[in-house]
């Protein structure tokens, strides 16, 4: 493995940037309407359990990537086959993030520009970052991800006069079912996607036990910030608009009186989406190079990114299809990759350690 190390603060900011990737424009809990905040809490707890599971796998298999763990636990052939499925899944969700980014920019900022041009330019930038190594991506996140906190605070404070603090009432107006469904969506998107970090954790430069603290801290901070954002969306837009709108943060930013702060959402998305897609491309290229025994993952970065860009254009015909897939299909499609296989890995790793 390449001798690259990332610090605790870098890992923390990478996780935060990754989690804010697509959630900076899509609102996975919007289907719970005025109980969206409850869905964030329940889904956050579920998602935190998933993240705990991934970190436990990393702690039980120190210095091993996801591909190496799969090979160790399932044997060379089955392990490689499952690793290839994981590579597909990672490339698929990096394509979905590219598409989210493209749809948002084309709908809101550059309506005259073809989406593939915007995605292509963004991809070229990310290929450069990933080819420079995970250390460079981490340092960039150290520089840019703190801006996300600033943007969230600026937008929240700018709208403080337009809040209706009773908008989240009545509680459980539509019963618990939509809340649980939205909570499940939130647990799988974005929290469950943290499994990708199983390709990054081996580069962590501190004791492996510190990983638990950093992961827990990152997830808690993310859930609190997201809860804050959801309350803000509810207080400003109300439940109906929150449910119907496609790009809620953009609408929120456009409502700020006497100023045009909409570009802040673009910056928010470029930082979050950039970190998320960089990690995905790195993980997919690295996993592919390990499966086929290639010494340097960089040789496959351009190919993986090109496929991801093509897939992002191919995967949906329009915006509505994208939103429907994200809400109805994605959570169930994610179950084997985010829950079932990691659970088997955790149990077998624990058993191997106790034996």
């Amino acid at each position: 493995m390449e001798n690259v190390k990332i610090s605790g603060i870098q890992l923390f900011l990478l996780i935060i940037g990754f989690l804010f990737g697509s959630t900076s424009i899509l609102t996975p809990v919007a289907s719970a309407k005025n109980d969206a905040w409850l869905a964030v809490i329940i889904g956050g707890l579920g998602g935190a359990c998933l993240v705990w599971m991934y970190v436990a796998i990393a702690v039980l298999n120190p210095s091993k990537t996801l591909v190496e763990i799969l090979r160790n636990r399932f044997g060379k052939y089955l392990g490689n086959a499952i690793a290839i499925l994981y590579i597909w899944y990672i490339v698929h969700f990096s394509a979905l993030t590219f598409r989210n980014f493209g749809e948002f920019i084309v709908t809101v900022t550059y309506p005259e520009t073809p989406m593939v041009v915007i995605i292509g330019i963004f991809a070229a930038l990310l290929v450069y970052a990933v080819n420079s190594g995970i250390e460079v991506v981490s340092r960039s996140s150290e520089l840019f991800v703190p801006l996300l906190f600033v943007i969230i605070i600026i937008i929240s404070l700018s709208l403080i006069t337009t809040h209706d603090f009773t908008a989240f009432l009545p509680l459980l107006e539509n019963g618990i079912k939509p809340v649980l469904h939205a909570a499940f969506e939130f647990a799988t998107f974005p929290l469950g996607e943290i499994f990708v970090f199983l390709m990054v954790f081996p580069h962590f430069n501190k004791k492996i036990n510190n990983l638990k603290k950093i992961a827990a801290f990152s997830v808690i901070i993310f859930i609190l910030l997201y809860l804050w954002s959801i309350f803000e969306y509810l207080f400003v837009l109300g439940k109906d608009l929150l449910y119907r709108a496609n790009f809620v943060p953009h609408i929120i930013a456009s409502l700020i009186p006497n100023s045009n702060l909409e570009p802040l959402i673009d910056i928010y998305l470029i930082i979050g989406g950039g970190v998320k897609i960089s990690i995905c491309i790195y993980a997919a290229a690295k996993a592919l190079s390990q499966v086929f025994g290639i010494s340097d993952y960089r040789k496959l970065v351009t190919a993986v990114t090109t496929f991801s860009v093509v897939l992002s254009v191919w995967v949906y015909e329009n915006l509505l299809e994208m939103v429907e897939f994200a809400q109805k299909v994605w959570p169930y499609y994610s179950i084997p990759f985010q829950i079932v296989i990691p659970l088997i890995l955790l149990l077998s790793s624990y058993r191997a350690k106790t034996d």
Partner: protein, 72 residues
């Protein structure tokens, strides 16, 4: 026009990478995997550019989940 653009972009990417692989004397498996992924991307891109969008992975996945009965 779109098809020509797609061909030019892929030609530049493939020429740039393959010449690097050959210069660095990379193993044949690197070239094989690279060629496989780029060919798949090129075929899909050409179909999309020609306005003949093949059924996408989102549709396959939805179909599979519907077959299992997970999604209605």
């Amino acid at each position: 026009m779109n098809t020509v653009l797609v061909l030019i972009i892929f030609a530049i990417l493939i020429f740039h990478d393959l010449s690097r692989f050959i210069k660095q004397k990379d193993p044949i498996k690197v070239i094989a995997i690279y060629t496989f992924i780029m060919s798949a991307s090129l075929v899909v891109s050409l179909l999309l550019a020609a306005g003949r969008r093949p059924p996408g992975p989102a549709e396959w996945i939805e179909w599979m989940l519907k077959m299992i009965g997970v999604v209605r």
